[in-house]
Amino acid sequence: MVNEQKKVMMEVKNIKLRFGGVVAIQNVSFDIQEGEIRAIIGPNGAGKSSMLNVINGFYHPQEGEIWFNGEKRPSMEPYEVAKTGIARTFQNIALFKGMTTIENVMTGRQLKMHKNFFWQLLRYGPAIEEEVQHRKRCEEIIDFLEINNIRKTPVGSLPYGLQKRVELARALAMEPELLLLDEPMAGMNVEEKQDMSRFIVDVNEEFGTTIALIEHDMGVVMDLADRVVVLNYGELLADGTPKEVQADQAVIDAYLGVPH
């Protein structure tokens, strides 16, 4: 929870993103403080996912800067961004269909494993030690998210709710500083939503991971998020605590569809 003025982990300054003629994001700036759960909400097509992709280095904004841990971040490729400790889950699931649950979670450890090609060839000594050590870390995460009984099932055959949880496990395996969740509860029933919210809070408290959460369900946003950014048609509409944002007239109009 955020009480006093905390160190800012990431700051996004007047970002402008265009796809050909279509303006996806129109000079938006906001910050994410360390250890907080920052929600990004807004109607469909407001630019939420695009903003996430900008942070992720998947889209390169035409203008604007991204500051991470106090330094200005040069324009990076997605895998470089991942190295700096930013992980994410996807709106519509992007699991590796050809692998089982445990293998998917192990992929989260790629950045942490370094044993060179020679050792990999022999898979002996340091290489296997590294594999075992990271396998144990994955098992702890599997235990944490209570998906032990689907450890060996191929992810393709898992129900929707469980696939979302495996994706969260994979992101956690990267032990990120900043975790980007793209509508983690889309398409879930009430019980699954409760479980996922509990896990998100646990992750925030147990591992101290800062979380940027895109979510439609206002109920979830209200009780999970410390601060909320509201986007609409690619512009920043409001930024503040859930209560402030809820009372903000511009936000209510945007959601109730006053013609813009």
Binding site: F90, E130, E131
Partner: protein, 362 residues
Amino acid sequence: MYFRETGQFKSKYKEELAAFPIFEDKIGIAIAAIIAFILIPLFGLPGLSYEFTISAVMIPVVIFTITTLGLNILLGFAGQISLGTAAFMGVGAYSCYKIMTIFPDLNALICVVLSGVVTAFVGTIFGLPSLRIKGFYLMVATLAAQFFLEWAFIRIPWLYNYNISGAIEVPYKEMFGIVLTGAKSEPLTRYFVCLAFLVVLTWLASNVIRGRIGRSWMMIRDMDIAAELIGVRPLTAKLSAFAFSSFYIGISGALMVFFWLGAAEVESFDINHSFTYLFMVIIGGLGSITGSYFGAILVWVVPVILKEYGKSVFGIDAFIMENFTTILLGVVMLTILIVEPHGLARIWQIAKQKLRLWPFPY
């Protein structure tokens, strides 16, 4: 039915990560090894002459398993399609030939390995387009490699030391007093050399695939966007796949010329061979080492044996048998694609799973 897994529990992660965790699988592998290393060299295959079995069936199938393994790493594990396999085998063969002529006293096996390394470089270069394009377009790019290299094998005399016939002959090589290559070499020794290569390369491949690098390939294959966002650098993953796969294909090319054919013209590296190797991988099963074995055995051994039986038993001449086997290959390929797109490996996996659950269905 065959499996008795009661009491086989894992108390260390290492056991869990082993190549063959279940005891019964270890028995299966041991039986296969006995057949390959002892039974066939001693008795050959039933109904076929011993000489024919070794030099016309076993040596090629072992070599083609290495090729299929290489292509499977590229296509099955890393998801990068390539129609240039035969050409890369050619690179392996010619580079081995050049190495042997430039360094005459170098041991034959080292030459083969070095030719693999050379092919790995060449393969990586031709793998560069995979960074920009994928899927179907990449296939056409590899076709460019295939035709360009075929052209190079004829048009660059340096490759075949300017001898008029344009083909490369195999020099006499021996190691520890055993004659390895050249006319006087025993088929059996050549068979064991190839088999040794296959075993070592399979072990290395299975290690790399189950490790960090193999996982990065599979990530790229399944969902390259997600892989990139998790920290896998597409460039390193794709090019390492091309390099590693070309290393295997280069070695198999060198082995084909120096330990089987005894000489090589360009035709043995043409586009049709590339298609056959592609068939081996697809029929065998993408993304599975055992699949590579099944594919090579089915696609190579069955036609050869059919031709042999056709000739000796039904007296049909080779030409008709040749066509019959091509049709048969096409038909088997189609059935596999329709019935089980993941190839024999998946059929084997399902059968194994059924046996493990016997007598219950789930």
